[in-house]
């Protein structure tokens, strides 16, 4: 029998004020998908990082724009898509300096992508310049032993 797939979508104005709302959405969906508390916390942070990047870099804090977070899950995997129509910003194009160098340079940024990669099983980008940018994250759902 084919696994049942469920989809939930959140649309919010592009403002950091809404990061708390986005985190609550991810927590609700993660709970419904059957992720454990630790993985829900990791996914919550990964999506927060992705959306903060969109709000700050893709849209430049323009709250008239919209951030879309789509969650799709079945019994095995939870996929999150963060969708925007802003400047095609690929965090992977930025060289990843080590922490000591970032500290020496007194930088406050440069940690988001590193965190995202540590927190989820897969991070991937799809760009259509001027049309739509999508960041895809995948988190496998651990099976609990009966």
């Amino acid at each position: 029998m084919a696994a049942i797939e469920r989809t939930f979508t959140l649309h919010v104005p592009s403002s950091t004020e809404n990061l708390a709302l986005i985190r609550e959405f991810v927590t609700s969906v993660g709970t419904q998908a059957g992720l454990d508390q630790s993985d829900i916390g990791k996914l919550e942070l990964a999506v927060d990082e992705a959306c903060a990047n969109v709000i700050e870099h893709a849209y430049g804090h323009d709250a008239t724009k919209e951030v879309v977070v789509r969650a799709i899950f079945d019994e095995e995997v939870l996929r999150i898509k963060v969708i925007d129509t802003g400047r095609g910003f690929d965090p992977q194009s930025i060289p990843q300096a080590d922490l000591e160098r970032l500290v020496a340079e007194r930088r406050s940024g440069g940690l988001g992508l590193r965190l995202m990669k540590s927190l989820v099983d897969e991070v991937r980008y799809e760009f259509e310049p001027g049309q739509k940018n999508e960041l895809h994250m995948t988190k496998r759902i651990k099976k609990t032993t009966p």
Partner: protein, 122 residues
């Protein structure tokens, strides 16, 4: 949508204590950054950040620690971080912050550490 966040500042024996409460994310990090900058501008280079009531941190919050520590150490001070909950500590460790920052259990230990080793020894 509530985004609970609060900062409580105090002074103790030449040390600045900043207690952080709630969610430290890209929305609230600028307030935290401003608070630390105010301390530095006032010549307070020995700062303890108490995270006992910090329930969430993202890279925006971590970035604030990262951007100030060098300046504080050059001035003979430091930033000591105490009271991290296991969840928040996990994020610090994931990025290797324990190699750069003095992460200690509680305020008393942070105060003692300033007396013993004002700047974290690598």
């Amino acid at each position: 949508m509530p985004n609970p966040f609060a900062l409580h500042k105090s002074q103790q024996d030449g040390l600045s204590l900043i207690a952080v409460e709630g969610f430290l994310d890209a929305h609230t990090a600028p307030q935290f950054e401003k608070t630390i900058q105010t301390e530095i501008d006032a010549g307070h280079n020995r700062i303890i950040v108490d995270c006992e009531k910090l329930t969430y941190i993202s890279s925006a919050g971590l970035g604030v620690f990262m951007s100030f520590v060098e300046e504080l150490r050059e001035a003979g001070g430091d930033i000591k971080i105490c009271g991290l909950t296991p969840k928040v500590r996990g994020v610090f460790d994931m990025l290797g912050f324990q190699e750069i920052f003095d992460l200690v259990d509680d305020q008393q230990t942070a105060v003692r550490r300033f007396a013993e080793a004002p700047v974290k020894e690598s």
